[in-house]
Protein backbone atom coordinates (compact mmCIF):
# COMPACT_ATOMS: atom_id res chain seq x y z
CA UNK A 1 0.00 0.00 0.00
CA UNK A 2 1.11 3.55 -0.72
CA UNK A 3 2.19 5.82 2.09
CA UNK A 4 -0.99 7.23 3.52
CA UNK A 5 -1.58 10.01 6.00
CA UNK A 6 -3.69 9.19 9.03
CA UNK A 7 -7.12 10.71 9.40
CA UNK A 8 -8.60 11.57 12.77
CA UNK A 9 -12.25 12.48 12.79
CA UNK A 10 -15.09 13.34 15.10
CA UNK A 11 -18.48 11.76 14.53
CA UNK A 12 -21.84 12.76 15.95
CA UNK A 13 -25.46 11.90 15.37
CA UNK A 14 -26.48 15.29 16.78
CA UNK A 15 -27.61 13.82 20.09
CA UNK A 16 -29.96 16.21 21.86
CA UNK A 17 -27.47 17.90 24.22
CA UNK A 18 -27.65 19.40 27.70
CA UNK A 19 -26.68 22.87 28.88
CA UNK A 20 -24.18 23.10 31.71
CA UNK A 21 -27.02 23.78 34.16
CA UNK A 22 -28.38 20.33 33.32
CA UNK A 23 -31.39 21.45 31.30
CA UNK A 24 -31.91 19.78 27.97
CA UNK A 25 -31.43 21.73 24.76
CA UNK A 26 -34.02 21.62 22.03
CA UNK A 27 -33.25 20.12 18.63
CA UNK A 28 -32.50 23.57 17.16
CA UNK A 29 -30.02 24.48 19.86
CA UNK A 30 -28.41 21.03 19.58
CA UNK A 31 -27.92 21.58 15.84
CA UNK A 32 -26.35 24.99 16.37
CA UNK A 33 -24.16 23.43 19.06
CA UNK A 34 -22.78 20.92 16.55
CA UNK A 35 -21.89 23.74 14.14
CA UNK A 36 -20.05 25.55 16.95
CA UNK A 37 -18.25 22.30 17.77
CA UNK A 38 -17.17 21.95 14.14
CA UNK A 39 -15.65 25.42 14.41
CA UNK A 40 -13.72 24.35 17.49
CA UNK A 41 -12.58 21.14 15.80
CA UNK A 42 -11.48 23.15 12.77
CA UNK A 43 -9.50 25.55 14.95
CA UNK A 44 -7.84 22.56 16.64
CA UNK A 45 -6.81 21.10 13.28
CA UNK A 46 -8.93 17.94 13.54
CA UNK A 47 -9.12 16.37 10.08
CA UNK A 48 -12.81 15.63 9.76
CA UNK A 49 -16.25 15.90 11.30
CA UNK A 50 -18.87 13.42 10.16
CA UNK A 51 -22.59 13.48 10.87
CA UNK A 52 -24.98 10.55 11.11
CA UNK A 53 -28.47 10.64 9.67
CA UNK A 54 -31.27 9.62 12.05
CA UNK A 55 -34.98 10.07 12.25
CA UNK A 56 -35.81 9.70 15.93
CA UNK A 57 -36.23 11.82 19.03
CA UNK A 58 -32.77 11.32 20.52
CA UNK A 59 -30.98 12.86 17.55
CA UNK A 60 -31.33 16.28 15.91
CA UNK A 61 -29.65 15.49 12.59
CA UNK A 62 -31.93 14.10 9.90
CA UNK A 63 -30.54 16.29 7.09
CA UNK A 64 -26.77 16.18 7.51
CA UNK A 65 -25.88 17.99 4.29
CA UNK A 66 -27.66 21.14 5.45
CA UNK A 67 -25.70 21.11 8.70
CA UNK A 68 -22.53 20.45 6.72
CA UNK A 69 -23.41 23.40 4.48
CA UNK A 70 -23.55 25.65 7.53
CA UNK A 71 -20.26 24.21 8.71
CA UNK A 72 -18.72 24.86 5.29
CA UNK A 73 -19.28 28.56 5.83
CA UNK A 74 -18.11 28.51 9.44
CA UNK A 75 -14.87 26.56 8.97
CA UNK A 76 -11.86 26.58 6.68
CA UNK A 77 -9.98 23.31 6.64
CA UNK A 78 -11.89 20.52 8.33
CA UNK A 79 -13.34 17.86 6.02
CA UNK A 80 -17.12 17.63 6.22
CA UNK A 81 -18.59 14.17 6.09
CA UNK A 82 -21.49 11.92 6.85
CA UNK A 83 -21.37 8.72 8.90
CA UNK A 84 -23.55 7.44 7.48
CA UNK A 85 -25.85 8.52 4.69
CA UNK A 86 -28.54 5.85 4.53
CA UNK A 87 -28.37 5.41 0.77
CA UNK A 88 -30.90 2.55 0.74
CA UNK A 89 -33.77 4.86 1.64
CA UNK A 90 -32.55 7.83 -0.35
CA UNK A 91 -32.42 8.72 -4.03
CA UNK A 92 -28.83 8.45 -5.28
CA UNK A 93 -29.43 11.22 -7.81
CA UNK A 94 -30.61 13.63 -5.14
CA UNK A 95 -27.77 12.56 -2.85
CA UNK A 96 -25.33 13.31 -5.66
CA UNK A 97 -26.91 16.74 -6.21
CA UNK A 98 -26.65 17.58 -2.52
CA UNK A 99 -23.05 16.46 -2.25
CA UNK A 100 -21.91 18.10 -5.47
CA UNK A 101 -23.51 21.31 -4.13
CA UNK A 102 -21.62 20.81 -0.87
CA UNK A 103 -18.48 20.15 -2.91
CA UNK A 104 -18.84 23.63 -4.43
CA UNK A 105 -19.69 25.41 -1.19
CA UNK A 106 -16.94 23.73 0.85
CA UNK A 107 -14.23 23.86 -1.82
CA UNK A 108 -14.09 20.10 -2.04
CA UNK A 109 -14.04 19.33 1.67
CA UNK A 110 -17.11 17.06 1.54
CA UNK A 111 -17.04 13.31 2.09
CA UNK A 112 -19.84 10.82 2.03
CA UNK A 113 -20.01 7.58 3.94
CA UNK A 114 -22.62 5.24 2.56
CA UNK A 115 -24.43 2.70 4.70
CA UNK A 116 -27.30 0.28 4.61
CA UNK A 117 -28.63 1.86 7.77
CA UNK A 118 -28.35 0.06 11.07
CA UNK A 119 -31.20 2.27 12.22
CA UNK A 120 -34.13 1.52 9.96
CA UNK A 121 -36.54 4.38 10.77
CA UNK A 122 -35.92 5.96 7.37
CA UNK A 123 -37.45 3.03 5.47
CA UNK A 124 -41.10 3.43 6.46
CA UNK A 125 -40.61 7.21 6.71
CA UNK A 126 -39.65 7.47 3.05
CA UNK A 127 -41.91 4.70 1.87
CA UNK A 128 -39.42 1.87 1.35
CA UNK A 129 -40.16 -1.72 2.21
CA UNK A 130 -37.69 -3.28 4.59
CA UNK A 131 -38.15 -6.48 2.67
CA UNK A 132 -35.80 -4.95 0.08
CA UNK A 133 -33.22 -3.91 2.69
CA UNK A 134 -30.34 -5.57 0.90
CA UNK A 135 -31.52 -5.16 -2.68
CA UNK A 136 -32.03 -1.43 -2.22
CA UNK A 137 -28.47 -0.90 -1.03
CA UNK A 138 -26.97 -3.17 -3.64
CA UNK A 139 -28.66 -1.33 -6.47
CA UNK A 140 -28.17 2.16 -5.11
CA UNK A 141 -24.47 1.76 -4.37
CA UNK A 142 -24.04 0.60 -7.98
CA UNK A 143 -25.94 3.68 -9.13
CA UNK A 144 -23.79 5.89 -6.89
CA UNK A 145 -20.60 4.46 -8.41
CA UNK A 146 -22.03 5.23 -11.86
CA UNK A 147 -23.01 8.79 -10.87
CA UNK A 148 -19.49 9.47 -9.64
CA UNK A 149 -18.19 8.92 -13.16
CA UNK A 150 -19.75 12.30 -13.97
CA UNK A 151 -20.74 11.33 -17.49
CA UNK A 152 -24.16 11.46 -19.15
CA UNK A 153 -25.73 8.42 -17.60
CA UNK A 154 -27.82 5.52 -18.79
CA UNK A 155 -29.43 3.54 -16.02
CA UNK A 156 -32.19 1.08 -15.47
CA UNK A 157 -32.90 -0.55 -12.15
CA UNK A 158 -35.56 -2.28 -10.12
CA UNK A 159 -35.86 0.25 -7.29
CA UNK A 160 -34.48 3.34 -9.02
CA UNK A 161 -35.45 5.64 -11.86
CA UNK A 162 -34.54 5.06 -15.46
CA UNK A 163 -32.02 7.56 -16.84
CA UNK A 164 -31.17 8.07 -20.50
CA UNK A 165 -28.06 10.06 -21.35
CA UNK A 166 -28.78 12.14 -18.27
CA UNK A 167 -26.38 14.60 -16.73
CA UNK A 168 -26.84 15.44 -13.05
CA UNK A 169 -26.12 19.00 -11.89
CA UNK A 170 -24.18 20.71 -10.52
CA UNK A 171 -21.45 18.73 -12.23
CA UNK A 172 -18.20 18.23 -10.38
CA UNK A 173 -15.20 20.10 -11.78
CA UNK A 174 -13.18 17.95 -14.19
CA UNK A 175 -10.94 15.49 -12.39
CA UNK A 176 -12.69 15.94 -9.02
CA UNK A 177 -14.90 13.50 -7.21
CA UNK A 178 -16.93 13.09 -4.04
CA UNK A 179 -14.76 11.19 -1.58
CA UNK A 180 -16.79 8.07 -0.79
CA UNK A 181 -16.41 5.48 1.93
CA UNK A 182 -18.71 2.72 3.09
CA UNK A 183 -19.65 2.31 6.75
CA UNK A 184 -19.97 -1.33 7.84
CA UNK A 185 -20.91 -3.08 11.05
CA UNK A 186 -19.99 -6.73 10.74
CA UNK A 187 -21.50 -8.15 7.62
CA UNK A 188 -18.90 -9.86 5.43
CA UNK A 189 -20.88 -9.07 2.30
CA UNK A 190 -20.85 -5.33 3.07
CA UNK A 191 -17.06 -5.39 3.09
CA UNK A 192 -16.86 -7.36 -0.12
CA UNK A 193 -19.34 -5.02 -1.81
CA UNK A 194 -17.29 -1.95 -0.83
CA UNK A 195 -14.15 -3.52 -2.29
CA UNK A 196 -16.01 -4.39 -5.47
CA UNK A 197 -16.88 -0.73 -6.04
CA UNK A 198 -13.42 0.45 -5.02
CA UNK A 199 -14.50 2.28 -1.85
CA UNK A 200 -12.62 2.23 1.45
CA UNK A 201 -14.54 1.12 4.55
CA UNK A 202 -14.91 2.42 8.06
CA UNK A 203 -15.95 -0.25 10.54
CA UNK A 204 -18.18 0.67 13.46
CA UNK A 205 -16.43 -1.09 16.33
CA UNK A 206 -18.76 -0.23 19.17
CA UNK A 207 -18.50 -3.29 21.39
CA UNK A 208 -16.05 -5.96 22.46
CA UNK A 209 -12.33 -6.22 21.94
CA UNK A 210 -11.46 -4.36 18.75
CA UNK A 211 -8.94 -7.00 17.68
CA UNK A 212 -11.93 -9.26 17.16
CA UNK A 213 -12.42 -7.35 13.90
CA UNK A 214 -9.14 -8.55 12.43
CA UNK A 215 -10.93 -11.10 10.19
CA UNK A 216 -12.99 -8.28 8.66
CA UNK A 217 -9.86 -6.25 7.93
CA UNK A 218 -8.23 -9.32 6.41
CA UNK A 219 -11.35 -9.87 4.33
CA UNK A 220 -11.08 -6.38 2.82
CA UNK A 221 -7.47 -6.96 1.78
CA UNK A 222 -8.19 -10.46 0.51
CA UNK A 223 -11.20 -9.24 -1.48
CA UNK A 224 -9.05 -6.53 -3.08
CA UNK A 225 -6.72 -9.27 -4.34
CA UNK A 226 -9.60 -11.45 -5.41
CA UNK A 227 -11.28 -8.74 -7.51
CA UNK A 228 -8.06 -6.95 -8.47
CA UNK A 229 -9.34 -3.75 -6.86
CA UNK A 230 -7.42 -1.09 -4.93
CA UNK A 231 -6.31 -2.33 -1.51
CA UNK A 232 -7.30 0.76 0.47
CA UNK A 233 -6.59 1.50 4.11
CA UNK A 234 -9.45 1.03 6.54
CA UNK A 235 -10.89 3.13 9.32
CA UNK A 236 -12.78 2.56 12.54
CA UNK A 237 -15.44 4.47 14.46
CA UNK A 238 -15.97 4.20 18.23
CA UNK A 239 -17.49 6.07 21.16
CA UNK A 240 -15.39 8.12 23.56
CA UNK A 241 -15.24 10.70 26.33
CA UNK A 242 -11.91 12.36 27.10
CA UNK A 243 -11.65 14.27 30.37
CA UNK A 244 -8.72 15.14 32.62
CA UNK A 245 -10.12 12.93 35.37
CA UNK A 246 -10.56 9.26 34.44
CA UNK A 247 -13.18 8.57 37.12
CA UNK A 248 -15.26 11.51 35.95
CA UNK A 249 -15.06 10.32 32.33
CA UNK A 250 -16.26 6.89 33.44
CA UNK A 251 -19.24 8.34 35.30
CA UNK A 252 -20.19 10.62 32.40
CA UNK A 253 -20.04 7.56 30.16
CA UNK A 254 -22.11 5.49 32.53
CA UNK A 255 -24.72 8.23 32.68
CA UNK A 256 -24.94 9.04 28.98
CA UNK A 257 -23.47 6.26 26.82
CA UNK A 258 -25.26 3.56 28.77
CA UNK A 259 -28.52 5.50 28.66
CA UNK A 260 -28.30 5.86 24.90
CA UNK A 261 -27.39 2.21 24.30
CA UNK A 262 -30.27 1.13 26.53
CA UNK A 263 -32.76 3.40 24.74
CA UNK A 264 -31.73 2.04 21.36
CA UNK A 265 -31.70 -1.45 22.83
CA UNK A 266 -35.41 -1.18 23.59
CA UNK A 267 -36.08 -1.01 19.84
CA UNK A 268 -33.44 -3.51 18.83
CA UNK A 269 -34.13 -6.03 21.53
CA UNK A 270 -30.80 -5.61 23.34
CA UNK A 271 -30.69 -6.10 27.08
CA UNK A 272 -29.73 -3.06 29.19
CA UNK A 273 -25.97 -2.66 29.60
CA UNK A 274 -24.55 -4.00 32.84
CA UNK A 275 -21.92 -2.07 34.80
CA UNK A 276 -19.62 -5.03 34.37
CA UNK A 277 -19.90 -4.91 30.57
CA UNK A 278 -19.56 -1.12 30.56
CA UNK A 279 -16.31 -1.28 32.53
CA UNK A 280 -15.07 -4.07 30.28
CA UNK A 281 -15.69 -1.83 27.28
CA UNK A 282 -13.52 0.88 28.87
CA UNK A 283 -10.76 -1.46 30.06
CA UNK A 284 -10.43 -3.81 27.12
CA UNK A 285 -13.29 -3.17 24.76
CA UNK A 286 -14.49 -0.46 22.44
CA UNK A 287 -15.05 2.62 24.61
CA UNK A 288 -12.38 5.30 24.54
CA UNK A 289 -13.27 6.77 27.90
CA UNK A 290 -10.59 8.22 30.16
CA UNK A 291 -7.77 10.74 30.28
CA UNK A 292 -6.07 11.97 27.09
CA UNK A 293 -3.11 9.65 27.70
CA UNK A 294 -5.31 6.60 28.35
CA UNK A 295 -7.40 7.25 25.26
CA UNK A 296 -4.36 7.95 23.08
CA UNK A 297 -2.69 4.71 24.17
CA UNK A 298 -5.82 2.75 23.42
CA UNK A 299 -6.43 4.33 20.02
CA UNK A 300 -2.81 3.78 18.99
CA UNK A 301 -2.85 0.18 20.18
CA UNK A 302 -6.00 -0.69 18.27
CA UNK A 303 -5.10 1.22 15.11
CA UNK A 304 -1.81 -0.68 15.06
CA UNK A 305 -3.43 -4.04 15.75
CA UNK A 306 -5.96 -3.54 12.96
CA UNK A 307 -3.76 -1.55 10.52
CA UNK A 308 -6.20 1.34 10.57
CA UNK A 309 -5.42 4.61 8.85
CA UNK A 310 -8.48 6.43 10.11
CA UNK A 311 -10.04 6.77 13.54
CA UNK A 312 -13.37 8.51 14.13
CA UNK A 313 -14.28 9.29 17.72
CA UNK A 314 -18.02 9.48 18.35
CA UNK A 315 -18.42 12.32 20.84
CA UNK A 316 -21.42 13.61 22.79
CA UNK A 317 -23.12 10.22 22.88
CA UNK A 318 -26.37 10.43 24.80
CA UNK A 319 -26.24 14.25 24.79
CA UNK A 320 -23.87 15.19 27.66
CA UNK A 321 -23.34 18.64 29.17
CA UNK A 322 -21.93 21.27 26.84
CA UNK A 323 -18.65 21.59 28.74
CA UNK A 324 -18.16 17.81 28.68
CA UNK A 325 -18.64 17.72 24.93
CA UNK A 326 -16.22 20.60 24.40
CA UNK A 327 -13.63 19.08 26.74
CA UNK A 328 -13.66 15.84 24.75
CA UNK A 329 -13.18 17.72 21.47
CA UNK A 330 -10.44 19.93 22.90
CA UNK A 331 -8.59 17.01 24.49
CA UNK A 332 -8.91 14.97 21.30
CA UNK A 333 -7.50 17.75 19.12
CA UNK A 334 -4.84 19.13 21.45
CA UNK A 335 -3.56 16.05 23.21
CA UNK A 336 -4.88 12.76 21.91
CA UNK A 337 -4.31 13.10 18.16
CA UNK A 338 -0.70 14.39 18.46
CA UNK A 339 0.05 11.66 21.00
CA UNK A 340 -1.47 8.90 18.84
CA UNK A 341 0.59 10.08 15.87
CA UNK A 342 3.67 10.00 18.06
CA UNK A 343 2.86 6.48 19.25
CA UNK A 344 2.22 5.32 15.70
CA UNK A 345 5.41 6.97 14.56
CA UNK A 346 5.50 9.96 12.30
CA UNK A 347 1.90 10.41 11.23
CA UNK A 348 2.06 8.26 8.12
CA UNK A 349 2.26 4.55 7.58
CA UNK A 350 2.88 2.06 4.84
Amino acid sequence: MAKQAYTFGLDTFGDIAFRDDGTQMGAGESLRQVVKEAQLADALGIDLIALGEHHRSEFAISSPEIVLGAMAQATSNIRLGTAVTVLSSDDPVRVFERFSTLHALSNGREEIMLGRGSFTESFPLYGFDMENYDGLFEEKIAMWAELLKGKPMNWEGKFTQKLTETTVYPQLPAGETIATTVGVGGSPESIIRAVYYGFPVVIAIIGGEPTRFRPYVDLYHQAAKQFDKPDLPLGMHAHGIILDDAAEATEVGWQYIKAEMDRIGIDRGWAPMSRDRFEFEIDKGSYYVGTPEQVAQKIAKNMKALDMSRFDLVYGTGGQLEHQRLATIRNYGERVIPRVKELLGGGAHD
Binding site: T120, F123, P124, D129, M130, E131, Y133, D134, G186, S187, P188, E189, I192, G207, G208, E209, R212, P215, Y216, D218, L219, Q222, Q226, G265, R268, G269, W270, A271, F280, G285
Partner: protein, 228 residues
Protein backbone atom coordinates in the same frame (compact mmCIF):
# COMPACT_ATOMS: atom_id res chain seq x y z
CA UNK B 1 -19.67 -39.62 22.29
CA UNK B 2 -17.67 -39.16 19.12
CA UNK B 3 -17.31 -35.50 18.28
CA UNK B 4 -20.20 -34.60 15.98
CA UNK B 5 -19.41 -32.91 12.69
CA UNK B 6 -21.00 -29.45 12.65
CA UNK B 7 -22.52 -28.15 9.44
CA UNK B 8 -23.36 -24.46 9.17
CA UNK B 9 -25.80 -23.28 6.53
CA UNK B 10 -25.29 -19.58 5.86
CA UNK B 11 -22.06 -17.61 5.79
CA UNK B 12 -23.15 -14.14 6.85
CA UNK B 13 -22.65 -12.42 10.17
CA UNK B 14 -23.77 -15.35 12.29
CA UNK B 15 -22.49 -18.20 10.12
CA UNK B 16 -18.94 -16.88 9.90
CA UNK B 17 -18.92 -16.04 13.62
CA UNK B 18 -20.07 -19.54 14.61
CA UNK B 19 -17.56 -21.07 12.21
CA UNK B 20 -14.75 -19.12 13.85
CA UNK B 21 -15.91 -20.03 17.35
CA UNK B 22 -16.30 -23.68 16.37
CA UNK B 23 -12.84 -23.94 14.83
CA UNK B 24 -11.33 -22.26 17.91
CA UNK B 25 -13.09 -24.88 20.01
CA UNK B 26 -11.49 -27.64 17.96
CA UNK B 27 -14.70 -28.78 16.24
CA UNK B 28 -14.99 -29.95 12.66
CA UNK B 29 -16.90 -27.18 10.90
CA UNK B 30 -18.34 -27.53 7.42
CA UNK B 31 -19.96 -24.42 6.03
CA UNK B 32 -21.82 -23.51 2.86
CA UNK B 33 -24.41 -21.19 1.42
CA UNK B 34 -26.46 -20.75 -1.74
CA UNK B 35 -23.52 -19.55 -3.79
CA UNK B 36 -20.72 -21.40 -5.54
CA UNK B 37 -18.15 -23.03 -3.32
CA UNK B 38 -15.36 -21.15 -5.11
CA UNK B 39 -17.03 -17.81 -4.35
CA UNK B 40 -17.26 -18.66 -0.67
CA UNK B 41 -14.04 -20.55 -0.04
CA UNK B 42 -11.65 -17.57 0.01
CA UNK B 43 -14.08 -15.72 2.30
CA UNK B 44 -14.19 -18.59 4.80
CA UNK B 45 -10.45 -19.15 4.55
CA UNK B 46 -10.08 -15.50 5.58
CA UNK B 47 -12.88 -15.14 8.11
CA UNK B 48 -12.78 -18.57 9.73
CA UNK B 49 -9.59 -20.36 8.72
CA UNK B 50 -9.84 -24.06 9.42
CA UNK B 51 -13.51 -24.36 8.54
CA UNK B 52 -14.29 -26.44 5.46
CA UNK B 53 -16.19 -24.72 2.67
CA UNK B 54 -18.53 -26.93 0.66
CA UNK B 55 -21.86 -26.79 -1.10
CA UNK B 56 -24.96 -26.53 1.05
CA UNK B 57 -25.91 -30.04 -0.06
CA UNK B 58 -22.53 -31.41 1.04
CA UNK B 59 -22.75 -29.53 4.33
CA UNK B 60 -26.06 -31.23 5.05
CA UNK B 61 -24.89 -34.65 3.88
CA UNK B 62 -21.66 -34.58 5.91
CA UNK B 63 -22.92 -33.07 9.15
CA UNK B 64 -24.25 -34.73 12.28
CA UNK B 65 -25.60 -31.42 13.49
CA UNK B 66 -26.79 -28.71 11.09
CA UNK B 67 -26.97 -25.10 12.29
CA UNK B 68 -29.34 -22.82 10.38
CA UNK B 69 -27.61 -19.44 10.12
CA UNK B 70 -29.76 -18.19 7.27
CA UNK B 71 -32.69 -15.77 7.23
CA UNK B 72 -35.85 -17.32 8.64
CA UNK B 73 -37.65 -16.58 5.38
CA UNK B 74 -35.17 -18.81 3.52
CA UNK B 75 -35.88 -21.89 5.62
CA UNK B 76 -38.86 -22.70 3.38
CA UNK B 77 -36.37 -23.20 0.52
CA UNK B 78 -34.59 -26.03 2.37
CA UNK B 79 -35.33 -29.56 1.20
CA UNK B 80 -36.87 -31.45 4.13
CA UNK B 81 -35.82 -34.80 2.64
CA UNK B 82 -32.13 -33.82 2.64
CA UNK B 83 -32.34 -32.90 6.32
CA UNK B 84 -34.48 -35.88 7.36
CA UNK B 85 -33.13 -37.60 10.47
CA UNK B 86 -30.66 -34.81 11.22
CA UNK B 87 -30.38 -32.75 14.36
CA UNK B 88 -31.01 -29.17 13.24
CA UNK B 89 -30.17 -26.21 15.48
CA UNK B 90 -32.37 -23.35 14.37
CA UNK B 91 -30.54 -20.09 15.04
CA UNK B 92 -32.92 -17.99 12.95
CA UNK B 93 -35.12 -15.18 14.21
CA UNK B 94 -37.74 -13.14 12.46
CA UNK B 95 -35.80 -10.04 11.44
CA UNK B 96 -37.63 -7.37 9.50
CA UNK B 97 -34.51 -6.14 7.68
CA UNK B 98 -34.20 -9.46 5.93
CA UNK B 99 -37.58 -11.14 6.32
CA UNK B 100 -39.84 -8.17 5.54
CA UNK B 101 -41.63 -5.46 7.47
CA UNK B 102 -44.67 -7.57 8.31
CA UNK B 103 -44.12 -10.93 9.95
CA UNK B 104 -46.20 -13.43 8.01
CA UNK B 105 -44.16 -16.40 9.24
CA UNK B 106 -44.39 -16.73 13.00
CA UNK B 107 -46.59 -15.43 15.80
CA UNK B 108 -47.15 -15.58 19.54
CA UNK B 109 -49.08 -18.79 19.03
CA UNK B 110 -46.55 -20.43 16.72
CA UNK B 111 -42.94 -19.57 17.45
CA UNK B 112 -40.53 -19.38 14.52
CA UNK B 113 -38.76 -22.62 15.42
CA UNK B 114 -42.08 -24.46 15.48
CA UNK B 115 -42.59 -23.22 11.91
CA UNK B 116 -39.13 -24.56 11.07
CA UNK B 117 -39.90 -27.91 12.71
CA UNK B 118 -43.19 -28.12 10.77
CA UNK B 119 -41.27 -27.63 7.51
CA UNK B 120 -38.46 -30.00 8.48
CA UNK B 121 -40.91 -32.56 9.82
CA UNK B 122 -38.50 -35.51 9.73
CA UNK B 123 -35.62 -33.61 11.41
CA UNK B 124 -34.98 -33.13 15.12
CA UNK B 125 -35.24 -29.36 15.34
CA UNK B 126 -34.00 -27.45 18.37
CA UNK B 127 -34.03 -23.70 18.87
CA UNK B 128 -30.52 -22.57 19.86
CA UNK B 129 -28.05 -19.72 19.30
CA UNK B 130 -30.98 -17.29 19.05
CA UNK B 131 -30.86 -14.99 22.02
CA UNK B 132 -27.32 -13.65 21.83
CA UNK B 133 -26.18 -11.19 19.16
CA UNK B 134 -23.49 -12.48 16.80
CA UNK B 135 -20.97 -9.95 18.13
CA UNK B 136 -21.77 -11.00 21.70
CA UNK B 137 -21.27 -14.70 20.93
CA UNK B 138 -17.57 -14.00 20.53
CA UNK B 139 -17.26 -11.20 23.06
CA UNK B 140 -18.94 -13.09 25.88
CA UNK B 141 -17.20 -16.41 25.28
CA UNK B 142 -13.82 -14.68 25.46
CA UNK B 143 -14.80 -12.56 28.40
CA UNK B 144 -16.11 -15.30 30.68
CA UNK B 145 -14.01 -18.41 30.25
CA UNK B 146 -15.10 -19.73 33.64
CA UNK B 147 -18.50 -18.19 34.46
CA UNK B 148 -19.96 -19.39 31.17
CA UNK B 149 -22.95 -17.65 29.64
CA UNK B 150 -26.26 -19.44 29.37
CA UNK B 151 -27.22 -20.59 25.88
CA UNK B 152 -30.87 -21.53 26.01
CA UNK B 153 -32.36 -24.21 23.81
CA UNK B 154 -35.72 -25.86 23.31
CA UNK B 155 -36.66 -29.06 21.51
CA UNK B 156 -39.34 -31.71 21.36
CA UNK B 157 -36.72 -34.45 20.89
CA UNK B 158 -35.55 -35.64 24.28
CA UNK B 159 -33.10 -38.12 22.79
CA UNK B 160 -31.25 -35.21 21.16
CA UNK B 161 -30.72 -33.27 24.37
CA UNK B 162 -27.33 -34.82 25.24
CA UNK B 163 -25.95 -34.01 21.79
CA UNK B 164 -27.36 -30.47 21.86
CA UNK B 165 -25.84 -29.86 25.29
CA UNK B 166 -22.53 -31.29 24.16
CA UNK B 167 -22.44 -28.97 21.15
CA UNK B 168 -23.41 -25.85 23.11
CA UNK B 169 -20.74 -26.68 25.68
CA UNK B 170 -18.17 -27.26 22.97
CA UNK B 171 -18.89 -23.81 21.55
CA UNK B 172 -18.16 -22.34 24.98
CA UNK B 173 -21.60 -21.89 26.55
CA UNK B 174 -23.58 -23.28 29.48
CA UNK B 175 -26.60 -25.10 28.00
CA UNK B 176 -29.93 -24.00 29.46
CA UNK B 177 -32.83 -26.35 28.78
CA UNK B 178 -36.15 -24.55 28.27
CA UNK B 179 -38.06 -27.77 27.58
CA UNK B 180 -40.28 -28.44 24.56
CA UNK B 181 -39.85 -26.40 21.38
CA UNK B 182 -42.88 -24.14 21.99
CA UNK B 183 -41.11 -22.67 25.03
CA UNK B 184 -38.50 -21.28 22.66
CA UNK B 185 -40.91 -18.40 22.04
CA UNK B 186 -39.43 -16.75 25.14
CA UNK B 187 -36.11 -16.32 23.29
CA UNK B 188 -37.51 -14.34 20.38
CA UNK B 189 -36.80 -10.66 19.65
CA UNK B 190 -38.74 -8.42 22.02
CA UNK B 191 -38.43 -10.81 24.94
CA UNK B 192 -36.43 -9.61 27.94
CA UNK B 193 -34.32 -12.76 27.46
CA UNK B 194 -33.41 -11.79 23.90
CA UNK B 195 -29.96 -10.24 23.76
CA UNK B 196 -28.98 -11.59 27.17
CA UNK B 197 -25.51 -12.98 27.75
CA UNK B 198 -25.76 -13.95 31.42
CA UNK B 199 -25.09 -16.93 33.67
CA UNK B 200 -27.64 -19.77 33.94
CA UNK B 201 -28.70 -18.59 37.41
CA UNK B 202 -29.28 -15.06 36.13
CA UNK B 203 -31.08 -16.44 33.12
CA UNK B 204 -33.37 -18.50 35.35
CA UNK B 205 -34.17 -15.42 37.45
CA UNK B 206 -35.12 -13.44 34.35
CA UNK B 207 -37.17 -16.34 33.03
CA UNK B 208 -39.05 -16.46 36.35
CA UNK B 209 -40.24 -12.86 35.89
CA UNK B 210 -40.89 -13.09 32.15
CA UNK B 211 -44.67 -12.87 32.41
CA UNK B 212 -44.43 -9.57 34.26
CA UNK B 213 -42.80 -8.02 31.19
CA UNK B 214 -44.70 -6.45 28.26
CA UNK B 215 -43.53 -9.36 26.09
CA UNK B 216 -44.83 -11.87 28.62
CA UNK B 217 -48.14 -10.03 28.75
CA UNK B 218 -48.39 -10.25 24.96
CA UNK B 219 -47.84 -14.00 25.16
CA UNK B 220 -50.66 -14.31 27.70
CA UNK B 221 -52.96 -12.11 25.64
CA UNK B 222 -52.32 -14.06 22.43
CA UNK B 223 -52.39 -17.56 23.89
CA UNK B 224 -54.96 -17.02 26.59
CA UNK B 225 -52.36 -17.86 29.22
CA UNK B 226 -48.75 -18.78 29.80
CA UNK B 227 -47.01 -21.28 27.55
CA UNK B 228 -47.74 -24.73 28.99
Amino acid sequence: MTEPVIGILGAGKLGTTLARLGVQAGLTINIGNRHDVADLKWIIDTMAPGAHTMSAADVIASADVVILAIPLSHVADLDPAALAGKLVLDATNYWKEVDGTVNRISSFTQSSSEVVQAHLAASQVAKAFNHMGYHDLEIEVDRHPTARRAMAYATDHDASRPVIEHVLQAFGFAPFDLGPLRFGLVLEPGSPLFGEAITPAEFQAKLDTLYASPFGQKIIAARGGKID
